[in-house]
């Protein structure tokens, strides 16, 4: 159960970040997911990313829907407010929260059922609105909490644990996100933290809608030999189209990059994403090329992972709505209530 408290003992040698915090300070309660669940690896990657970015945890809000994935926010960032909302509706709750306070970082956590089935409408519209948030789908192709039914992202070729075939084509959330105008679209694998952590860091630093589809095997219901979302299958078919490093704004680039293959992408806050292209045909700034890469890899039974698409100049919802630069929840009544003097003029219009 998620109320199980972890001991708060600290090892004196634990590494500290610029805020003087350790990993432990970014953890949540004990996970209650199945042992070996991919979601726990994603949780660990989020913790690592926030630790490395020196983020004050209380300036992050975690929002989720319903399902195994949506329980996960309990397991990281215990010092952040969290909101486990209703099934498929994480996007609208996050939108409202973000409208109220534009200064916080919003991490939305959802699953493939929560996003691709019941929440497909809200997913599409939060992308359209360019909400400044990180949207992580912990994608295992099945419904875990109700014991293994297919989800809408499960591949057609991937049968259930009992061998029943899946008669329907999958929804590719990355393709949808690109088509609907997401500014940052990436796919990764829960078992590849070298790729996942920089992607999460970049997604957090990106201002606009950042989407991360993370394949996360369900050890209990969808990790059998015939599944295309099992650890073995994803390891064998994962085709990283690029390799990344994330370089925060003020730090020097110390890594030794091969000339000619590395692209530096500068994000809104000045930080950089160093991209080493593996697939030479892939241009992450071109949405058509990104879609092509995903589709052609999928046709070969492979899974294109990495930063699939990025638009560095995207406006977010606040830019579009022209909302105040100060968080709406911080505005005093004196600025919001026009007072009795203004009412006179208003009444006059109705006379």
């Amino acid at each position: 159960m998620s109320y199980i408290q972890k001991p708060v003992a600290y090892h004196p040698a634990l590494k500290k970040n610029a805020l003087g915090l350790t990993h432990r300070d970014y953890e949540g309660s004990m996970s209650t997911l199945c042992a070996g669940c991919g979601h726990d690896s994603i949780t660990a990657a989020i913790i690592e990313a926030c630790f490395e970015l020196d983020l004050p945890a209380h300036r992050i809000a975690k929002v989720s829907g319903i399902g195994c994935s949506s329980k996960a926010p309990t397991y990281f960032l215990g010092r952040s407010h969290g909101f486990n909302s209703v099934h498929g509706r994480m996007p609208s709750v996050t939108t409202g929260a973000n409208l109220a306070n534009r200064d916080l970082i919003y991490i939305g956590v959802s699953g493939d059922g929560d996003t691709a089935s019941i929440g497909l409408g809200q997913f599409a519209h939060v992308v359209r609105r360019r909400l400044n948030m990180v949207y992580i789908v912990m994608n295992n192709g099945c419904y875990g909490l109700t014991k293994g039914q297919f989800s809408a992202t499960n591949d057609k070729t991937s049968p259930s644990k009992k061998g029943e075939p899946n008669p329907f084509d999958p929804i590719d959330l990355c393709q949808m996100a690109i088509q609907l105008g997401a500014g940052f679209v990436a796919r990764s694998f829960s078992g590849d933290k070298r790729q996942l952590i920089p992607l999460i860091k970049a997604a957090i630093s990106y201002r606009g809608f950042a989407f991360l589809d993370v394949i996360s095997p369900c050890v209990t219901f969808n990790n059998h030999p015939a599944s295309t979302k099992s650890y073995d299958y994803v390891r064998a078919h994962n085709q990283a189209i690029d390799k990344l490093d994330f370089v925060p704004e003020e730090r020097e680039i110390t890594a030794d990059y091969e000339e000619g293959t590395t692209t530096a992408i500068t994000l809104h806050d000045g930080s950089r994403l160093m991209l080493h292209k593996v697939d030479q045909t892939h241009d992450p700034r071109d949405p058509d090329a990104a879609l092509m890469t995903i589709r052609s890899r999928a046709a070969q039974g492979e899974l294109a992972t990495g930063l699939l698409y990025i638009d560095e100049s995207q406006q977010d919802l606040h830019d579009i709505l022209r909302t105040s630069d100060r968080p709406l929840n911080s505005l005093p009544a004196s600025e919001l209530c026009p007072g009795s003097a203004k009412l006179e003029a208003i009444n006059a219009r109705f006379r």
Binding site: H58, A61, L331, L343
Partner: protein, 601 residues
């Protein structure tokens, strides 16, 4: 009965023909002459080509309910001639476009034929003008027939068309055309006519939806998320236009945000997300939207998140009568969502209360950390009502409820999100981003303990549910008390009503009193019921519960929640979608108590 400053005039037109603005100018002119007026727009769920009506009751005494029996019918729509003719009282008048002359099968009315289309065809060449100015021609004819003050009418036209100066003179030409025709061909004015008076002086004419939006502005609401649905749409649209006018800086930045959501689920979800994060947030919807929002309302109830919802009720069930009025969401709102849920409801009875209760709703929502629904309806929301001008007390401070800031968190010994410190069932909440290492919690719709931690311990969940019930008892002490009007302290007959039926009930009670029957009245303003509600019921033996739904929903709520004996509560229901008439109320009560009164004598 009808006469000077006391009559009903009805316009039968085709929607999309431009009649709405002409009709509004007609009503506004009477209002500016100081005579109370009550226009009702009876419109189809359609954009163009279907019948629409505009009923204007003129009453110097200030009776603003709908009244059956039309004194003057302006019949501009051949599709509805038959039914329009039938509504005219004997001795009444029928004004029609006689370009195509017609025999009317009634001997007991006066016919005022005006060849409107022919006149317009002669005067204008542009087909659009020919069509639009027909409306102003009949307004012009009425100005002579009803003796409207021409200077006032000109002022109304000028105000309505401000910025479109060319149109003003063209419209006034059309008015003159109709007026001259009437003066030449009919004996003007008619016995029913308008005379300058004082009883509308100082009042305003406004729709409830506009007023509700203004209430949200004055409450300091910053987030409005909504999905278009008749008849609530104009709440969000008015809020947006007030934001532009009152809350936009010179740099174009707005102190507020309006999002037209993809559906009602997202609309309420956004409002809840914003409320959770410390902004005053609301949505506006109608019946079908309530059904769609129910899951989220349950979440906000159980996770204790403030949010305000304006429900502009329309005819149900299902899609129902989208452009007709009803009060049939009382039960659906009181108990919206699965499991044990109850919600705070407010019942404004006119646009002024849409403003005051609309603003109050935000205080209650934050004080009680729960959804508050303002149950208006199409009649209040979309029709212009004469009401007192809006007033605001600058000394009034918004009640932001129990929110701990960083210092409060440092001072708190053992803070738990759902811990009942004060015994009123209302815990202390915190907002994200407040404190580096205190006050964070996980908001959830799953069963939780006082520290917001998930629990499957049934006893802990039961304790929490009982605390929320206690909070609801606190709510009963905070919501507006009913308005009680005692006409005779010895009378054991009472009437209970709420919302838009107020004008009809008050007029009926005056009529009954004139007949020697004194009925005491209580207007309910909120649910949960404050103690005064039960006290009123206890003090009366026979209580008519007037409401606009089939199943007497408020009566049921009184029985369930105030423990009132159903035997004494007489269901007095009308649900034809039309605003209630005093006649209906008077007859219902009269028929029911007639024998009682005789027996007593």
């Amino acid at each position: 009965m009808s006469g000077v400053n006391d009559f009903v005039c009805k316009f039968a037109t085709v929607n999309g023909s431009g009649s709405a603005s002409a009709n509004t100018m007609f009503a506004k002119t009477i209002f500016r002459m100081g005579v109370p007026v009550s226009p009702k727009n009876i419109f189809p769920s359609n954009i163009q080509g279907l019948p629409t009506w505009y009923e204007v009751r003129v009453s110097e005494k200030g009776y603003l309910a709908r009244r059956d029996g039309i004194d003057l019918m302006v019949a501009m729509n051949p599709q509805t001639y038959r039914e329009d003719l039938a509504e005219i009282v004997p001795g009444g008048w029928l004004l029609y476009d006689s370009t195509m002359p017609r025999q009317w099968p009634r001997e007991d009315i006066n016919v005022l034929p005006i060849p409107i289309a022919a006149m317009c065809a002669k005067r204008w060449t542009d087909p659009r003008q020919r069509q639009l100015f027909k409306n102003m021609v009949y307004v012009g004819a009425l100005s002579a027939l009803l003796d409207l003050d021409m200077e006032v009418l000109k002022g109304v036209v000028a105000d309505q068309l401000r910025g479109k100066e060319k149109l003003i003179s063209a419209n006034l030409d059309a008015v003159a055309l109709g007026r001259d025709y009437a003066l030449e061909n009919f004996q003007c004015p008619l016995p029913i006519r308008v005379q300058t008076a004082e009883s509308a002086r100082g009042k305003i004419m406004v729709t409830g939806n506009n007023a509700a939006a203004l209430g949200a502005i004055y409450a300091g609401a910053t987030v409005c998320s909504w999905y278009p649905i008749t008849p609530s749409t104009s709440v969000a649209e008015a809020f947006e236009s007030y934001l532009k006018r009152l809350r936009t800086g010179e740099d174009g930045k707005v102190l507020g945000a309006v999002v037209q959501a993809e559906d009602e689920l997202a609309a309420i979800g956004m409002a809840i997300g914003a409320g959770w994060n410390g902004a005053r947030a609301f949505t506006a919807t109608s019946g079908p939207g309530i059904s769609l929002m129910s899951e989220f309302l349950g979440l906000a109830y159980f996770a204790e998140i403030p949010v305000v919802l304006f429900n502009i009720q329309r005819g149900g069930p299902s899609t129902g009568m989208p452009t007709r009025t009803q009060q049939s969401d009382v039960m659906a709102c009181a108990y919206a969502s699965h499991g044990d849920t109850k919600h705070v409801l407010l019942f404004p009875s006119d646009p002024n209360e849409c403003f005051t209760l609309g603003a109050k709703a935000f205080d209650l929502a934050e004080r009680l950390q729960t959804p508050v629904m303002v149950l208006s309806d199409l009649d209040i929301g979309m029709n212009e009502w004469m009401t007192d001008p809006f007033a605001w007390d600058d000394a009034y401070a918004h009640d932001r409820g129990k929110v701990l800031d960083a210092a409060g968190l440092d001072a708190a010994k053992d803070w738990g999100r759902y811990y009942d410190v004060d015994g009123d069932g209302i815990p202390y909440r915190t907002l994200p981003g407040t404190h580096p290492d205190k006050g964070a919690y996980f908001t959830r719709g799953t069963s939780h303990d006082a520290y917001a931690r998930y629990t499957e311990d049934g006893r802990i969940n039961a304790e929490n549910m009982l605390r929320i019930a206690r909070k609801f008892q606190t709510a009963a002490t905070l919501v507006p008390k009913p308005e009680i009007a005692t006409r005779d302290p010895r009378s054991r007959i009472g009437v209970i009503y709420f919302g838009s039926t107020r004008p009809a009930v008050l007029e009926a009670l005056d009529e009954l009193e004139a007949e020697g029957i004194r009925v005491n009245a209580m207007r309910i303003k909120a649910f949960p019921f404050s103690p005064e509600v039960k006290a009123f019921c206890d003090a009366h033996d026979r209580i008519f519960v007037v409401e606009q739904n089939r199943d007497a929903q408020m009566r049921s709520l009184l029985m369930l929640e105030a423990g009132i004996d159903g035997e004494k509560l007489v269901a007095t229901t009308n649900f034809d979608g039309m605003p209630l008439t005093a006649d209906f109320v008077r007859k219902s009560i009269r028929t029911s108590i007639g024998p009682v009164k005789v027996a007593a004598e």
